[in-house]
């Protein structure tokens, strides 16, 4: 899923300064699962904004709504009749939702209430970590199911680098060294021969480096 962090409250308040009629808009997908942009968080943030505006003596109307998804036109249509009554929408969706909503309703400013951080997993309650960078050319079959692009701070393909220490990464002693993990699995599965193979330079053209990506399935078009 996509993981996000809520923006600092003061930054949100500053962003909303020019507006009086605000819609705080949640998304029922990833940001709900990572507890940053679902209906519950929308309610909390909307209350916080109301209280701050009241304390500051600024008349404000803050409404709340949560869509099933903000990255699908189908659900964005639900706002068709109401969005015109707001000065701005504060979206708690990931960057995709914020942009897509803004594209659909070009007359209303759509502002980001969260910082989209990574594609990851819930390791345990309240703890999410990154697993994939969407490089467009998966190598997990060669690296024992552990992604060096994402989990190595240097995205190196022939690790571990000289900074790996006691199985940890040089940048953070709490961060496992991806190559340490990969080698442990090579050993467990008796595949150290695979470790000895030099992985050639990656073709990054399928990643962000190749420009914005798209996927087209003509057979699915209506």
């Amino acid at each position: 899923m996509i993981v996000a962090d809520r923006k600092p409250f003061d930054e949100i308040i500053k962003m909303l300064a020019p507006y009086s009629n605000i819609l705080v808009l949640g998304c029922n997908e990833c940001v709900t699962v990572c507890a940053v942009g679902g209906a519950k968080e929308v309610a909390i943030l909307a209350s916080q904004i109301r209280m701050r505006r009241m304390t500051d003596g600024v008349k404000t109307k803050v409404d709340e709504k949560t869509l099933e998804r903000q990255c699908d036109t189908e659900y964005l249509e639900e706002l068709k009749d109401v969005i015109g009554s707001y000065d701005a929408v504060l979206s708690l969706a990931c960057g995709c939702g914020v942009q897509f909503l803004g594209e659909r309703y070009i007359d209303t400013p759509v502002l980001p209430g969260v910082n989209t951080t990574f594609m990851g997993v819930t390791e345990k309650q309240g703890f999410w970590t990154e697993r994939c960078q969407g490089c467009g050319n998966c190598v997990l079959d060669r690296t024992m199911g552990i992604c060096p692009v994402t989990r190595c701070a240097k995205s190196i393909f022939n690790g571990p680098c000289g900074g790996s220490w006691g199985g940890k990464c040089e940048i953070d002693k709490d961060l496992p060294c991806a190559w340490h993990l990969i080698i442990e699995r090579y050993k467990e599965r008796g595949r150290m021969d695979a470790f000895m193979e030099i992985i050639p330079p990656k073709d990054w053209s399928t990643a962000r480096d190749g420009g914005p990506r798209k996927r087209h399935r003509e057979d699915m078009e209506i």
């Binding site: 680098c161 900074g163 220490w165």
Partner: protein, 305 residues
């Protein structure tokens, strides 16, 4: 133009090489490099020039190497993968070779988190093993990574680094095997303080017959003070400074600490010289370059061939 640098010449003649390190300045101060060069000239066979080490901005490794080269010193230009993609890397390899640089040392590079521009975007388009392969391909096959022709290719003596003192040691030996098969011709090691660990690593290196294919140059660093030893132990990634060494430094009066540090370094070199497969030493006297001539003389490695 001669295709062989001094480092390669001494190694090929079977000599025990001595190299030292020169960190470029944090400003337009070519004289600072010349001063370090003068200090080292005649005492070492080549001078290793760091490439924005610890991700702190310094004068480029290429420019600094050329300044040393113009003084008649054989520079070992470090090249890290952190700051340049394959286009810039190959372009710099061509530029370095055109300016007479004979040796390139390939490294991944310290993460920018350690440096003075923590918000920088890193590159790591290719890694150090792929960099070795890339330079070898340009030199031996006359091909860029893209497969296009390099006309003419660069004549470069290719180096790598390895850390012989971090566990698991067998992985470090195997990684050297990877670098060797990629094309590394010499290997400079991280500072050796833990000789026991280094000896175990060398044993693995010999078992894999790597010492026959790649010249191992063991890194040494004279410890100037107890504070420096503690700092390196705690803060430098991958640095193994045994407590016995720190205790030994603590055991002498403060004004004698640096002298003791030099003594430890010379003893280390003597031990390293006796290890089968060690082809030289690389003295990394960080911020204490003027001590290098004394160490070289005390170790009986002066004059240079």
């Amino acid at each position: 133009m001669s295709t062989q640098g001094n480092l390669e010449r001494v190694l090929r003649s079977g000599g025990f090489v001595v190299t030292a390190e020169c960190g470029p300045p944090r400003g337009v101060a070519p004289d600072m490099i010349r001063k370090k060069g003068e200090m080292l000239k005649g005492y070492v066979d080549a001078v290793n020039v760091t490439d924005n080490q610890t991700a702190v901005v310094r004068m480029s490794s290429l420019a600094s190497s050329v300044i040393l080269k113009d003084m008649g010193i054989d520079p070992v230009m470090q090249m890290v993968c952190r700051d340049r993609n394959r286009i810039a890397i190959q372009s710099d390899v061509l530029g370095a070779a055109a300016l007479g640089i004979k040796n390139i040392l390939c490294l991944s590079g310290d993460h920018q988190r350690f440096g003075d521009h923590k918000g920088a975007k890193n590159v790591f388009d290719i890694d150090s093993v792929q960099l070795i392969q890339c330079i070898k391909g340009m030199r031996d096959d006359g091909r860029f990574l893209s497969g296009e022709e390099v006309k003419p290719g660069p004549s470069i003596f290719i180096g790598c680094v390895e850390n012989p003192c971090i566990e698991p040691l067998e992985i470090r030996a195997m990684r050297l095997a990877k670098k060797t098969s990629a094309g590394a011709q010499f290997c400079q090691t991280q500072c050796v303080f833990n000789l026991g660990s280094f000896e175990r690593w060398m044993e693995m290196v010999r078992q894999l017959h790597l010492h026959e294919k790649v010249s191992i140059i063991a890194g040494v660093t004279p410890l100037r003070s107890v504070g420096m030893a503690n700092y390196m132990k705690k803060n430098v990634p991958g640095m193994d400074v045994p407590d016995e060494l720190i205790d030994r430094l603590k055991g002498v009066p403060k004004e004698k600490t640096s002298e003791e540090g030099i003594r430890i370094c010379v003893e280390t070199i003597e031990r390293l010289m006796g290890i089968e497969g060690v082809r030289g030493i690389h003295i990394m006297a960080i911020g204490w370059e003027d001590v290098v001539p004394e160490i070289v003389k005390l170790a009986g490695l002066y004059p240079r061939p």
